[in-house]
Symmetry: C2
């Protein structure tokens, strides 16, 4: 049996007329009669009661027609889905994200993806350090990483998405909040709150290198896992923190942000994916990401 038989049967069953059905199928009537008979012979079931004056479905034919339509639709749907998957418009996508973009860029990206790629099932893993994201990429835990430099990995492909101003997060009423901008030098005596360090957090490295350039070693009083914790501790007056501008999107009360006078004064946000396994879905996602 072939789909041809089903397509022909559907036409005859819907037209209830071999001549018109043949016309609709752009074939002559005799081969249509033959194919229908072939189908019935193969099934061993009469699907149509026909005289020269009337064609009608048997009970078995009524059921078979419904199933035939469902099958033909399923064949079409299978093709469309395969195309969508090949184009990256359908499937699973899990995105990793550093803490400083988890509450600003990431939600906007997810919203845009849902809108522009409705067939894609988007998963999210926020508050991941850059090294953790590289590992997650390699083991397939995430398909796309959003992280900050410096990162080195030959098997990963990077793309700069945006550059974020470095800010100093101060408790409300802190002496330094009176000035428009804050110089790194002015932080010589400050207590710092950072993400846990030793190469696990990029921002920790930024803090150390900026202070070292200014000729002092930062006094780190608290190390935290999550950005939300970091900002909350600042609000509680336990210290200050250097953060990329989007962190302010968290909107924790009691924190004042001031631009940091430093060189460099900005830090990039990168999108990364594995160099091999260039799945079309990550390509589509990067397209959407660039539009934001």
């Amino acid at each position: 049996m072939e789909l041809r038989h089903l397509r022909y049967f559907r036409a005859v069953a819907e037209e209830l007329h071999f001549g018109r059905a043949a016309e609709r199928l752009h074939i002559a009537q005799p081969p249509l009669s033959q194919q229908i008979r072939q189908l019935e012979d193969e099934l061993g079931v009469r699907l149509l009661n026909r005289s020269t004056r009337r064609v009608e479905l048997t009970p078995a034919g009524i059921d078979y027609l419904q199933r035939t339509i469902a099958i033909l639709d399923a064949v079409d749907a299978a093709g469309r889905h395969a195309q969508q998957i090949a184009e990256g418009r359908r499937g699973q996508l899990t995105i990793g994200c550093v803490g400083s973009a988890t509450y600003s860029l990431l939600p906007r990206l997810v919203r845009a993806l849902r809108e522009q790629l409705p067939g894609v099932d988007v998963g999210v893993r926020g508050e991941m350090s850059a090294p953790a994201q590289l590992t997650a990429l390699r083991v397939g835990e995430i398909d796309l990483a959003l992280l900050r430099p410096p990162v080195e990995a030959a098997d990963v492909e990077f793309e700069t998405i945006r550059s974020d101003r470095l800010m100093i997060a101060l408790p409300d009423g802190h002496p330094l909040s009176s000035s428009e901008t804050v110089d790194v030098d002015e932080l010589r005596d400050a207590d710092f709150i950072t993400h846990v360090g030793h190469g696990r957090s990029v921002m920790n490295g930024v803090l150390v290198s900026l202070c070292t350039a200014a000729g002092f070693v930062p006094r780190i009083r608290h190390e935290v896992e999550e950005t939300s914790t970091l900002v909350t501790l600042v609000a509680a007056g336990l210290g200050v923190a250097i953060v990329p501008e989007p962190t302010s999107a968290l909107g924790v009360a009691g924190v004042t942000y001031r631009p940091l006078d430093a060189e460099p004064a900005e830090i990039d946000l990168l999108a990364a994916r594995l160099r091999d396994r260039h799945s079309p879905i990550t390509t589509q996602a990067l397209d959407v990401l660039r539009q934001i």
Copy 2:
């Protein structure tokens, strides 16, 4: 596209080897390669990544394989269902039944049908008079009727299923319950409870003809719609009733049944269906009915 493409794709996708798949399909390898390429070209999607050393499914291919298997299974299922419908082993069947068999034969029949024709969806309309069943047959409300003679209808086909002893239903302690059997003559002064008459109930006709043959007119005190009501009224001492033996299966307390001495002493139970529209499902049902 044809089912051939799906069958071939399934084989290759499951074997992940064109040579073995071709063997499994009993064709040579080159035409298999051609058909797969044809499928991919038609879809515009690469389903398999292949080198001379390794064949593997693309993400689109993985999805397409699942759908392919579902489609091929659906094609098989459609054929099987059509066959079952043609054999009367699948479909809808509604059975009408007179009151006196509604509580004995009918439940047994339904149980047997569920067992022997599990694909058949059995519906039931009990407590129907013979004329009502004939009408219901004609309008397609029921497919099979269980009724008692006399019935005349040229468009309906009858088959005698069984013969039931006529009984007299008496309130417990009724004088006549002391004898083993009851003669019609002894009922000359009895109050009768019957189904509503005037050709609507066969048993009503039986009562009248038996009494007329014995030379008296029965005193009918109550006419009821349902057999259960009839028996309940007997139990309440409001009168006696002539019923076919299976009515006793109702098991209402306070009623004594005695064989009736009459000519005839039995009444047939018939199965009936429309003479045209000989659906296979009613044929199957009659087979089951005969086994009971």
